[in-house]
Symmetry: C2
């Protein structure tokens, strides 16, 4: 309570993992470099080997390192590290990559949920939701349209906020609404006429579309969003491996697929 140090008194394995991650980001271990052995780290931190393995396991889940039996663990790609929160919050992300985020609320309304929204938010027929449309800007240029549906309980909190607040996600976290898991569907679509107007481009230019469902620790959906990025404004990167595969590829609605 007296301390403002954010993550000092966490678990041992997090401390080890954080230290290693920091070393990698600092460039002390470049891509391909081999890391200290389990036994060496266990001795250095005076913890058991299991704890060191737990730390390595977390880094592997982040796609930072790879391992083979018999050889030391190695650093994979260079530092490409984004926290989960940075991924869900446009504002946090923009600041992290050195851009100045901004936003403009286009509309905020409470209305009956559509069939898709009911399915994605896992709510009953006739439920009402809050729907927010915002245009997000980087350095003054509009780059993304955010169309988000919140279940009634969460939406009420959003509606109560200053409409020009920079980060809704951060404010929700302060209010105790935690986002812990998210499922993203990423594809490419042409800009609609409304998209084109809001983003100040011509209709039909390529749009990178991200549909996202975020859930809290109990698996309850707290957000269903369709974000549309200008094709040349952002890219998503994903790391996967035999050990941790969080990526999949799905047939689209195009004329090629048999069932829609």
């Amino acid at each position: 309570m007296t301390d403002s140090r954010d993550h000092e008194q966490r678990s041992l394995y997090r401390r080890v993992a954080d230290d290693l991650r920091a070393d990698i980001v600092a460039g002390n271990y470049g891509a391909g470099a081999s890391l200290p052995s389990e036994s060496e780290l266990a001795a250095r931190y005076d913890v058991s080997r299991g704890t060191v393995r737990q730390a390595f396991s977390a880094l592997r889940a982040e796609g930072v390192i790879a391992s083979r039996r018999g050889a030391r663990r190695i650093v994979l790609s260079g530092p490409r590290l984004q926290s989960f929160t940075e991924l869900l919050s446009f504002s946090r992300w923009a600041r992290a990559v050195g851009e100045e985020p901004a936003g403009r609320v286009v509309s905020l309304e409470r209305r009956d949920a559509t069939a898709l929204e009911r399915e994605q938010l896992n709510i009953a027929d006739g439920s009402r939701i809050y729907h927010l449309t915002r245009v997000r800007m980087l350095s003054g240029r509009p780059v993304m349209i955010e169309r988000t549906a919140y279940p009634d309980r969460v939406g009420a909190l959003v509606a109560g906020m200053d409409p020009d607040i920079e980060s809704i996600t951060e404010r929700l976290a302060e209010l105790g609404v935690l986002f812990t898991d998210a499922e993203h569907i990423i594809d490419a679509v042409p800009a609609s006429t409304e998209d084109a107007r809001l983003l100040d481009v011509r209709p039909r230019v390529p749009i990178l579309r991200e549909r996202r469902r975020s859930t809290d620790p109990s698996g309850t959906p707290v957000e269903w969003s369709e974000d549309r990025y200008l094709g040349d404004a952002v890219a998503f990167t994903v790391h996967n491996s035999v050990a941790a595969n969080a990526l999949s590829r799905q047939p689209g609605p195009g004329p090629s697929t048999k069932a829609r």
Copy 2:
């Protein structure tokens, strides 16, 4: 050699994880359902609690389950499961989703690596590579263009294959070239005139572009590919969480960004 059972004699925790995954896919545990406790599974399989936890850990890395302290683990999204191999091999993926894959080689050449290829494949100046361009089809309709650079050592194997072979990735695996990690960059671009010709669409239609670098267990790059999907033909889905975050968002080359 005498057995055709693929994955029987693996580790204990894999057996537990495979069983749970199969149960989830079979629908025995729907989205949101809670799973058996660690102690129950430990008793059922006669293994230690640590082994059961290792199985759950693997499922969490796949984005299949979530957990909270004090409550049982729950199933997240319904069955959305694709093996890592299915992700790297168009053919395997197509068959898994019930489509008939096909392909046509447009060109295969050995030439000097470009600067980008040298960087991505981590090879020296003046190195030569093999470059393959293929059009991939689903049910007779072209949906994707694959432009892949292989380092000399791997490319020599590819060049020796029957050019009309269905899955190069599978053949390479048989020859001992293993893919264990991959980094994907996903964005949206307009179709070039060549893209349009190969895919039989008009220029400038939205294309979902996936650039991918695959590495073997030692971290050595074995493939650098740029795949271009027809916008309405496929979508990628990604799961991430506070615990395992393999996704990140990057500024694109557009006029919004300061650098470049």
